[in-house]
Each structure stands twice: as structure tokens, then as C-alpha cells.
């Protein structure tokens, strides 16, 4: 069952592009942070979306989840999902609102 033990990983050029995106996104986050307070509602959504994007880029490309065995994704995303559910459940139980 030799399915893709050494999958074709991206080239350093791809890694560099990802890094540029990560840096730019971080810069955008920084810029948005100093936007007027009236935009606070939108800011939260944008921060969350950008953060998920950065998270996914690192996990998929730098950690090779996009190219590697699906089992790895299952192990990791399993833990991640469970952790997210526990956080959300606790927030609901404590009626904590951000």
C-alpha cells in the first residue's frame, strides 16, 4: 500500500509565495486594527476570516496536509474540531459574549 509516501511537495518558490501572502495578510490585519471604531463589527469578522486563512495556508502548505496522507488530516482536524466544539460549548454554557 505504497500510496504517496513521498508526495511531490511544492517548490521553494511556492513556499516563498505563501510567506508573502502570510506577511501581507498580517499587515492588512494590522492596518484594519487601526480603522475607525465604528467598523468594529466588521473588523471581528475580517480578523476571524483572515486568521482562518493564515491557519489553513500554514497547515496545508507548510505542514503539507494538502499533499500528504489523508490520515494526517483526519488526526489533526479531528483534534482541532473537538477542541473548537469544547470551546464553543463552554462559551455557550458561560453565556460569554465577545
Amino acid at each position: 500500500m505504497e500510496h504517496g509516501r513521498h508526495p511531490a511537495h511544492p517548490t521553494p518558490m511556492t513556499y516563498l509565495k505563501i510567506a508573502v501572502i502570510l506577511a501581507v495578510v498580517t499587515f492588512i490585519e494590522w492596518a484594519i486594527f487601526f480603522a475607525p471604531e465604528s467598523m468594529n463589527g466588521i473588523k471581528l469578522t475580517v480578523f476571524s476570516v483572515l486568521s482562518v486563512m493564515k491557519f489553513a495556508l500554514v497547515a496545508m502548505f507548510y505542514m503539507h496536509l494538502k499533499f500528504d496522507e489523508r490520515l494526517f488530516s483526519m488526526l489533526f482536524v479531528g483534534g482541532l474540531t473537538l477542541a473548537t466544539c469544547v470551546i464553543l460549548a463552554l462559551l455557550v454554557l458561560f453565556q460569554a459574549v465577545l
Binding site: L71, L82, C85, V86, L90, L93, F94
Partner: protein, 616 residues
């Protein structure tokens, strides 16, 4: 090959004590786990006897309230973390590689590490008895009872550090078994051909790696509060002590399934063997086990119905709790279905397994009663709950553990446990168990609160308490009979042969006790009940040639096994020292961490198998 051999001389096939300290053989590690855990089972039992003696009559003055608090706390911690969990680990170690046709676990040295960390964690947890201050808050250690101001002795520190260290052991072992089961199965052993015990080990391992970090965080927060004066559970600073309850039970409920799923796995192996029938509804049993594993995450607040979470939260958790009874019930039907129409051979092992079904149903029924939140409000903190947990943990886990011991003892030692003594052991256990725990239902419904060191005369509780105490001593006698049986059979037991029970799974295809390398040739599996098929042919009458797929390089002595190493023990010794350091003095903690670090470096530079041993 240049290694750090000059620094750490590697033991070369040592014998005696050093052989045990440096072993990386899963069977020997299983034996270490088993013996250690059973010793703690006796310690926990002794604690229970003292409590039962105290409660035998009203206003009995055997122990003080403070000592009683320490007794019930340590009884629970000892039984859960130092007896049932490591007894399960003993079976994982002993049986998993044999059942899946592997020569060892995926990480033999990590496996030894898990055992030694467990041992040191257990010692830390028990230190309180020596220095005179054991944890005294109940095993759940609700805040703010654990705060430095209310609990200034070191007892809670042993709790925090001991459980933390034990968590490291559990996670390391669980990761090891996850990789072993996914990655070291014999050719042909697909997931749906795995013995149910292996499935339950896998589910349990996943529960361990996900649940342990949650309690670890809770323990860290408690440690920070106690040691550095932080505010996690400091109400004056705005903290909510209910957070501890949530963190504890988010871990605590999966933990309940960590305790019972391996037991269900053992029963699912023992019953088919002695009914001489395949397990009824294998896919459903497996699926139920997985469902229980998932559902176990969604029920934790049923331990907190009286906290005041509100009607919505209580309703949600009541419904999920009732729902989790469904897969459990399905399993019970499947076990009964397995027995139905089988040619049942009532040896001791299946007796314990059938006892498990019977008692677990009782415990399960009272469990569903607790799921009804309003009803639970009446039962909370009474002996009714104590009755319930002993029916599922003693009637469930421990009965299954004994079934497993009678079942696999011959494989591990090459000798049979005495059947005659075994039958006595079973019937006395069954009798003692029901005498000790059934009356607690009555006491609880009559309002007797748990964790009280005594009760007043004239409450009407005297009779059933006395009965319960008598039952506890019957249980103690039964356990002593077992210990006698164990040691006698070890020396004089009837030789077992390779396959004393006409077994169905691969461990019975090799000699008893198995050689270090387990399998001369790794078998090829063609269906469920792999060994049964080899002996009698599968459903289509095809007899697989046994053992198939032998490759010539593996024959005889050419088998490449990992070599002994003392580094796992040294690395975990560092953790143990660091643990004591966290309680008493930080420089010692740094020393311990340094030992662990040196051990880790040496370990990573040490080859898994000594290179000069084989001409590989």
C-alpha cells in the same frame, strides 16, 4: 557504529532486576503494569475496607473526619488512575501486538517510558500517606476547596502533580497504541477484521489523547493558583469556580469510557470463545463502541445537574445522556445474542464476563435514572450514586478485568489458573459485590449522604450499612483467594498449551508464553477470527494454510528485535524528580528536567536495536 556507548553502557540481554528495568518487550511491560496496578488495587481496597469498617455502625470512631476525607479521595484516585486504567494498559500491552500479528508495539522504548512514568506518577500521588497529608477533596477536587487558603497542606499538590505525571504516561501510551494498531497489523487484517478488543483499545486511546490535555490544563491552572497566587479559581478576582467543574468533567466523562471500553472489549473476546460462536453483530458492536467514544464528549454536564446551569443546559445534557445508553444497550443485546444458542462452557473467564453483563445492566439502569435531571437532583451526593458507580466500575470494569486475567493468564505464563479456586473466586466476588453495593441503593434513596465520615443513630441506616460492610469483607476474601490462586498457579498450575480455550484470535496460534519475537512468521489474515479460520476454515469451508506468508529471512533466530534500554526509565525518573520538585523546591524540579533532557538526548542517539547483536 559510534553511539554514546561510552556514556551509557547499554544493557545487553540482562537478567533479574535489570532485565525488568531495561525491558522493552511489550509482554514484560504488560506484566509490570499488571502487577503494579493489582498492588494498587489492593491498596485501594484496603482504603475501602477501612471506610466500610468505619461506617459499619452509627457514630463509629475508627477514623477522624479528616482521615475519612483522605480515604475516600485516595480510594477513588487509586482505583481509577492506579488500578483500572493501568490494568487496562496491562491488557493493551500483553494482547494488542499478539492479536494483530505484530512482534511488538510501534515504539517499544516509549512503551517502557509510559510504564515508568506511570510508576513515578503513582508514587507521587501516594506520597501523602507517608508525609501525612493526602488529597482530601474527593477525586473531582472542586474549587475553591482546593485553594491554598482552604487546603494549605501538600495534599492537593500531590494530586495536581501526580495526575499531571500520570497524564504524560497515559498520552504516551495511547499515542503508541494508536500507531501500533493503525500501522502494525498483519497482512490481510483490515480494520473490519480487527478483534473487538483492538477496536476498543483504539477508541480508548483516542479518548485518552484528547481528554487528558483538558484535565492537564485544569491541573496547571490549579497549580498556578496554589503556587504562584494566580486567580483562576479566585472568586474575589471575578473567577467562576464552575469553570473547574467543567474542565474536570469535560475530561471526567470521557474518562468514564476510558475505564469501561477496554472492559467491553475483553468481554467481547471472552464470550465468543466460550460460546464457540462468532461475536453476534460484529459491525454493530464496533460502531456502538465508536459512537460511545464520540457521545462521551457530549454528556459531561450530567455530573453538574444540581449546579444550576439552567433548564436548557440541563435538558440538553439529559437527552444526550439518555442517548448514550442506546449504543451501550445495543452492545448488551449483542453479547446476549452471542451467548444465545452457543455451546457455552462455563469456565471462570466466561462466568466473570456474564457477571459483567448482569451487573453492568444494573449499573446502566441506575445511570439512566441519573440522566433524568429532576430525579438526579434527589440522588446527587447520596449513596445511590455510590451504588451506581460501583456497579459500573466494579461490576463492569473489574469483573471484566478478572475475566481477562482468567482468559489470558495461560497465554502470558503458560499455565492455567485453577478452575476450582476460580469458581470460588467468582461466586464470592459476585456475592460480596452485591452485598456491598446493592444496599447502597436503599441507603441513597433514604437520603444517606456520601462522603460523610459517620451518621447518627436512629436514621434507620444501621442495618444496610452493616450488610454493605459485610459484603466488602466478603469481597476482600474473594480477592485474597484470587491472589492465592495467582501465585499457586504461577508455580504449580496445569500447563496450558498453546490454545487452551480453542481460541479464535491470533494470540492463541503461538506458544504460551510467547517467545520474545511472538511470531516466527507474521501470519496472513483472511477474515475475522483469524485463528479460528486457520483451524476450522472460514464460512465457505476454506482452511487457510497456517501460518501463511512466512518469509525465509524471519525464520529462526534472524528476527530483529529491539534491544533492552535503561534510558526510558532514566528519562521518566527525571520526570518523577521534577514532579517532587514542583511540590517542594524548584531547583529540584530543574534537576529533574535536566535528567529528563539528558535521557531524551541519549535515547534519541541510541539505536532501537543494538547494531552488533545481529548481522543486519
Amino acid at each position: 557504529m559510534a553511539t554514546l556507548a561510552g556514556v551509557f553502557n547499554r544493557p545487553y540481554k540482562p537478567t533479574g532486576v535489570w532485565g525488568w528495568i531495561s525491558t522493552v518487550d511489550h509482554k514484560k511491560i504488560g506484566a509490570l503494569y499488571g502487577v503494579t496496578a493489582f498492588t494498587f488495587f489492593l491498596v485501594g481496597g484496603l482504603e475501602a475496607l477501612i471506610m466500610r469498617f468505619q461506617l459499619a455502625r452509627a457514630e463509629h470512631g475508627i477514623v477522624s473526619a479528616e482521615v475519612f476525607s483522605q480515604l475516600f479521595t485516595m480510594h477513588a484516585l487509586t482505583m481509577i488512575f492506579l488500578a483500572v486504567m493501568p490494568l487496562s494498559a496491562a491488557f493493551f500491552n500483553l494482547v494488542v501486538p499478539l492479536m494483530i500479528g505484530a512482534r511488538d508495539v510501534a515504539f517499544p522504548r516509549l512503551n517502557a517510558f509510559s510504564y515508568w512514568v506511570f510508576l513515578f506518577g503513582a508514587l507521587i500521588l501516594q506520597t501523602g500517606w507517608i508525609v501525612g497529608s493526602s488529597p482530601n477533596t474527593g477525586w473531582f477536587a472542586y474549587a475553591p476547596l482546593t485553594a491554598e487558603s482552604f487546603n494549605p497542606s501538600n495534599g492537593m499538590d500531590f494530586y495536581v502533580v501526580g495526575l499531571g505525571v500520570l497524564g504524560v504516561s497515559s498520552v504516551a501510551a495511547a499515542l503508541n497504541f494508536i500507531v501500533t494498531i493503525i500501522n502494525m497489523r498483519a497482512p490481510g487484517m483490515t480494520l473490519m477484521r480487527l478483534p473487538v478488543f483492538i477496536w476498543m483499545t483504539l477508541v480508548t486511546s483516542f479518548l485518552l489523547v484528547t481528554a487528558m490535555p483538558v484535565i492537564t490544563v485544569g491541573l496547571i491552572e490549579l497549580y498556578m493558583d496554589r503556587t504562584f497566587g494566580m486567580n483562576f479559581f479566585n472568586v474575589e478576582a471575578g473567577a467562576d469556580v464552575i469553570l473547574w467543574q467543567h474542565l474536570f468533567w469535560v475530561f471526567g466523562h470521557p474518562e468514564v469510557y476510558i475505564l469501561i471500553l477496554p472492559a467491553m472489549g475483553i468481554v467481547s473476546e471472552v464470550l465468543p470463545t466460550f460460546a464457540r460462536k462468532p461475536l453476534y453483530g460484529y459491525p454493530v458492536v464496533v460502531l456502538s463502541g465508536i459512537t460511545i467514544g464520540f457521545m462521551g464528549w457530549a454528556v459531561w454536564s450530567h455530573h453538574m445537574f444540581t449546579v444550576g446551569l439552567g433548564p436548557i443546559a440541563n435538558s440538553v445534557f439529559a437527552i444526550t445522556t439518555m442517548f448514550i445508553a442506546v449504543p451501550t444497550g445495543i452492545k448488551i443485546f449483542n453479547w446476549i445474542g452471542t451467548l444465545w444458542g452457543g455451546s457455552i462452557d462455563l469456565k471462570t473467564a466466561p462466568l466473570f464476563a456474564i457477571g459483567f453483563i448482569f451487573l453492568f445492566i444494573v449499573g446502566g439502569l441506575s445511570g439512566v435514572m441519573h440522566a433524568v435531571a429532576p430525579s438526579d437532583a434527589q440522588q446527587q451526593d447520596t449513596y445511590f450514586i455510590v451504588a451506581h458507580i460501583h456497579y459500573v466500575l466494579f461490576g463492569g470494569s473489574i469483573m471484566a478485568v478478572f475475566a481477562g486475567i482468567y482468559y489470558w493468564f495461560p497465554k502470558a505464563t503458560g499455565r492455567l489458573l485453577s478452575e476450582r479456586v476460580g469458581q470460588w473466586h467468582f461466586w464470592l466476588t459476585f456475592l460480596g459485590m452485591n452485598l456491598a453495593f446493592y444496599p447502597m441503593h436503599f441507603l441513597g434513596l433514604d437520603g444517606m449522604p456520601r462522603r460523610n465520615y459517620t451518621y447518627a443513630e436512629g436514621m434507620g441506616w444501621d442495618f444496610w450499612n452493616l450488610v454493605s460492610t459485610v459484603g466488602a469483607f466478603v469481597l476482600a476474601m474473594a480477592t485474597l483467594i484470587f491472589v492465592h490462586n495467582f501465585f499457586r498457579s504461577l508455580r504449580k498450575g496445569e500447563p496450558a498449551g498453546d490454545d487452551p480455550w480453542d481460541g479464535r484470535t491470533l494470540e492463541w496460534s503461538i506458544p504460551s508464553p510467547p517467545p520474545e519475537y511472538n511470531f516466527v512468521a507474521i501470519p496472513t489474515v483472511h477474515g475475522r477470527d483469524a485463528f479460528w479460520d486457520q483451524k476450522y476454515g472460514d464460512a465457505h469451508g476454506h482452511v487457510a494454510r497456517a501460518p501463511a506468508g512466512a518469509s525465509s529471512e524471519d525464520e529462526g533466530h534472524g528476527i530483529h528485535m529491539p534491544s533492552p534500554s535503561i534510558l526510558p526509565m532514566i528519562t521518566s525518573l527525571g520526570l518523577g524528580i521534577a514532579g517532587y520538585g514542583l511540590v517542594y523546591s524548584f531547583p529540584v524540579a530543574i534537576l529533574g528536567a535536566a535528567i529528563t533532557m539528558v535521557g531524551t538526548y541519549a535515547w534519541s542517539m541510541e539505536p532501537a536495536a543494538a547494531p552488533d547483536e545481529h548481522g543486519h
